[in-house]
Symmetry: C2
Subunit: 85 residues, 2 copies
């Protein structure tokens, strides 16, 4: 069993109004030193695969087909083996 | 300048209906080997601080006060120094 940890982020050229709203909230709390807030998604999933390579292939496929919008978003992931008890 | 990369995840004991919906979508695409999908948030922000330690303190404070709901969510982050050109 493998655990994939995926981050999906908006491309740099895409405006992020949600990030701007959160940045405004952070400034309202008095943290003036914080800027350039950008919000993305974090997805964890388990993959039942016979090798790490296979788990990576499945994860990449799932990201490309469902989790990330290829026009607006980039994704990255790490795959870790999970020891089963 | 420092870049904080923050992940906010639902605690294990909290049901994640959004994750269940995505898992259903993944299965519909034919990836039967994927399970336990959980969705969280990924937040990137820049901190104008004089040391990495100060940037970490600001990031932790922002997470506790705004970004994560302490009842339902956990957060983790890494802080990287950004070289300015």
């Amino acid at each position: 069993m493998y655990l994939s940890k995926i981050t999906v982020t908006l491309r740099k050229s895409i405006l992020d109004p949600q990030g701007k709203a959160v940045e405004h909230g952070i400034h309202s709390l008095g943290f003036e030193s914080v800027e350039d807030v950008r919000i993305g998604k974090f997805i964890e999933l388990s993959v039942n695969a016979s090798s790490k390579n296979e788990a990576e292939l499945v994860t990449r496929d799932v990201c490309q087909k469902l989790l990330a919008n290829p026009v607006m978003e980039d994704f990255s992931f790490v795959v870790e083996e999970v020891k089963e008890d």
